[in-house]
């Protein structure tokens, strides 16, 4: 423990002495948040759809088939009660839900105005809005094809983010990205810098174990990452006014495994690169950009080719973006987000093991 504190003190002293590091740590995130907080949207296909058919008639099935037959939607479940929809929407397994009320067929047959309900997930406004407009289009077509002159009345309901403010769902994702960039960059420099300066060799002749050296690098940067979040959080909450509906504790519980991933990736890079510059390049092009593209942060995962969708399962940022949107907008806790937490924990453990093995083989 004392050994660890000794390394920690040294790392923090070095960070403090670096005149370039403080602006990077505390100003860059705020600037990035502000700029990236306002971001673009793109089109969406294969929106996850939950169907709740309370009417169970030929007419309601025709309506449902119009949705499932469309390339815009992918049915993930059919539930029997609208209460069951909550689970699917809360866990993001479904992004949009279609509820056909009992009496739908009867009303139509009687020529009375009919009503169906659409529930969209507003925590991802991009998917939510577009899903909603696709659904409206689909309903329109069904109505026309059926020769009904009376339009079906649509009662859309957007959950979690009723006004579909894009900031609300972009800002938490940007926060995730910034934490990733900072922690990954810092830790990717960690071991390389020691090698470049010749201090690594000196460290290795001391009785410090490779494990202690690695841990001694992880812990201080985890602290830095934490400070980072605490700096950025007020911007998210007060500047952008993003509601934090979940608890800070949940946020912390999901941030820890994510930082384990990013710090471990950084350390792995640090064992692969010979110079700090190389480390920066590898981090940026091999680990940072692909993660950002494949996290669902910019491009909806639903819209990706199958193979890329598979790859997103090993992208820690994917889980963390989901987790943050869940905590901020849906106010859900670990009871819903535990799969994300567990996935990040697993990925982090694997990457850290790789980094340690690689470091040990390098040392020997």
């Amino acid at each position: 423990m004392r050994t660890l504190i000794n390394i920690l003190v040294k790392e923090l002293l070095q960070l403090r002495r670096d005149p370039k590091i403080l602006p990077i740590l505390f100003i860059a995130p705020v600037v990035q948040l502000t700029i990236l907080g306002y971001a673009a949207t793109t089109d969406v296909r294969r929106v996850e759809l939950a169907i709740c058919d309370l009417d169970r008639s030929a007419a309601s099935r025709t309506l449902a088939d119009a949705f499932t037959g469309s390339s815009y939607f992918r049915q993930v479940v059919a539930v029997d009660s609208s209460d069951d929809l909550d689970f699917w929407l809360d866990s993001s397994r479904a992004r949009i839900a279609l509820v056909v009320p009992a009496g739908f067929a009867a009303d139509r047959a009687a020529g009375r105005p009919t009503t169906v309900q659409l529930i969209a997930d507003g925590s991802d406004a991009m998917v939510g809005t577009l899903g909603l407009s696709y659904a409206q289009g689909t309903l329109q077509r069904v109505a026309e094809a059926g020769g009904f002159r009376l339009p079906i009345e649509l009662r859309p309901q957007v959950r979690y983010n009723p006004d579909l403010v894009s900031r609300y769902f972009m800002v938490p994702a940007v926060l995730a990205m910034i934490i990733m960039i900072m922690t990954m960059m810092l830790s990717s420099m960690a071991l390389v810098r020691e090698s470049e300066n010749g201090t690594m060799e000196q460290l290795l002749v001391t009785p410090l174990s490779p494990g202690a050296i690695i841990t001694g690098k992880l812990v201080p940067y985890a602290l830095v990452g934490t400070v980072e979040i605490l700096t950025a959080l007020p911007v998210v909450l007060f500047w952008f006014g993003v509601p934090l509906r979940g608890s800070l504790l949940t946020l912390a519980a999901l941030t820890a495994p994510f930082m384990l991933c990013t710090l471990s990736i950084g350390l792995l890079v640090s064992t692969l690169a010979r110079t700090q510059q190389q480390a920066m390049m590898i981090t940026t092009f091999v680990f940072m950009m692909p993660q950002i593209y494949l996290s669902g942060f910019i491009f909806p995962i639903q819209n990706m080719p199958r193979i890329f969708q598979m790859i997103t399962y090993v992208v820690p940022l994917r889980y963390y973006v989901q987790a943050l949107r869940g905590v901020f907008l849906k106010g859900v806790g670990l009871e819903v987000l535990w799969p994300q937490g567990l996935a990040m924990l697993g990925l982090g453990a694997v990457i850290l093991t790789l980094a340690r093995l690689r470091f040990r083989s390098q040392v020997g």
Binding site: R2, T3, N6, I7, V9, K10, L13, Q14, R17, D18, N197, G198, T199, E201, Q202, L203, L204, V205, T206, P207, L208, V363, G364
Partner: protein, 321 residues
């Protein structure tokens, strides 16, 4: 030092047996064997790429040998590196303190890596500060220190945990002569107090200050003895030094003269190794006849450099035949 070290007083503290290390096809260290006695200043002399650093890195447990074996403080370098690390100090060729930390912070950190805490750590830090002559600059950033101070601070750091053996890899590179002399006074002190000092250098002056010198060339250990004994490869009076006003072509003249085994340039002077003593007049006449004269030729005591050049040439001739 401690009771454990007592039986080692007669046994060697470092042994290498047929130690080899290759990097791909390149043989960095080629079947090297030697022993180092406790308290000895053991010099590794050789040009860059001779295999000195590789040998030291193997002994410090930083690099595994390809074949052969070595022990340090009685422990095997391959299987017991962890126990060796608590018993050695190491100063690498490259300056290796944290330049963005102060003198005191460096000492605290490096002491901590050897689990030195509390008052013992404080005493050792004070000692290192005194050795490095940095009492007034404890709070100075290391990057602001002149080279000589840094070198002594690095040595102080390497000695914080009182290791019985210290490995110094070209410790005085880039240091001015005065700082170099003070550094070597420190090495002498250590040796007197019983610390074994294993030092590599390519400086002949420094090698002269070692108790024994190992000559390394192209990965092989060519000779190992005290400086005085090494010089005996030249029989009395067979090493001649010539000076002449027109030195162009003089080296070839000497090499052609019968009775001269070999000749080498030493700055503005020429050294010739002869088959027998008393050849000075012969060489002087040969140089005069060739138009390099008037030449002055006299017998000189061999320097370590003469020994080094001669040993390498012999080894290369032996390797070719």
């Amino acid at each position: 030092m401690s009771a454990q070290a007592a039986p080692a007083a007669t046994a060697p503290v470092v042994t290498a047996r047929e130690l080899s290390r290759t990097f791909g096809a390149f043989v960095a260290v080629d079947r090297v064997s030697f022993e180092v006695a406790p308290g000895e200043i053991f010099g590794f002399l050789g040009s860059n790429g001779a295999g000195k650093t590789t040998t030291i890195r193997i002994l410090c447990g930083l690099l595994a040998p390809t074949s052969g074996s070595a022990t340090v403080a009685g422990f095997d370098v391959t299987s017991d590196a962890a126990r060796i690390k608590t018993r050695i100090g190491y100063m690498s060729q490259k300056f290796s303190l944290y330049t963005d930390l102060t003198v005191d912070e460096n000492l605290r950190f490096w002491g901590g890596t050897y689990r030195l805490w509390g008052s013992e750590a404080e005493r050792r830090r004070d000692w290192a500060i005194e050795v490095a002559g940095l009492a007034a600059r404890r709070r100075t950033l290391v990057r602001e220190l002149p080279g000589g101070y840094r070198q002594r601070l690095a040595l102080g750091c390497a000695l914080l945990h009182r290791p019985p053996i210290v490995f110094l890899d070209e410790p005085t590179g880039g240091v001015d002569p005065e700082a170099r002399r003070r550094f070597w006074d420190l090495i002498d002190d250590l040796s007197v107090q019983g610390t074994t000092v294993f030092v590599t250098t390519h400086s002949m002056d420094e090698a002269e200050r070692c108790h024994r010198v190992a000559l390394m060339h192209a990965g092989r250990l060519l000779a190992l003895d005290s400086v005085r004994a090494l010089k005996r490869i030249f029989p009395q009076g067979t090493l001649l030094e010539a000076t002449c006003p027109r030195p162009a072509g003089a080296l070839e003249v000497l090499e052609r003269t019968p009775g001269v085994i070999e000749a080498a340039l030493f700055g503005d002077r020429l050294h010739a190794v002869c088959e027998r003593a008393g050849m000075a007049p012969v060489l002087a006449r040969a140089l005069d006849d060739a138009g390099n004269g008037p030449a002055a030729v006299r017998a000189v005591p061999p320097s370590l450099e003469d020994v080094f050049i001669r040993t390498i040439r012999d080894a290369e001739a032996g390797g070719r035949s």
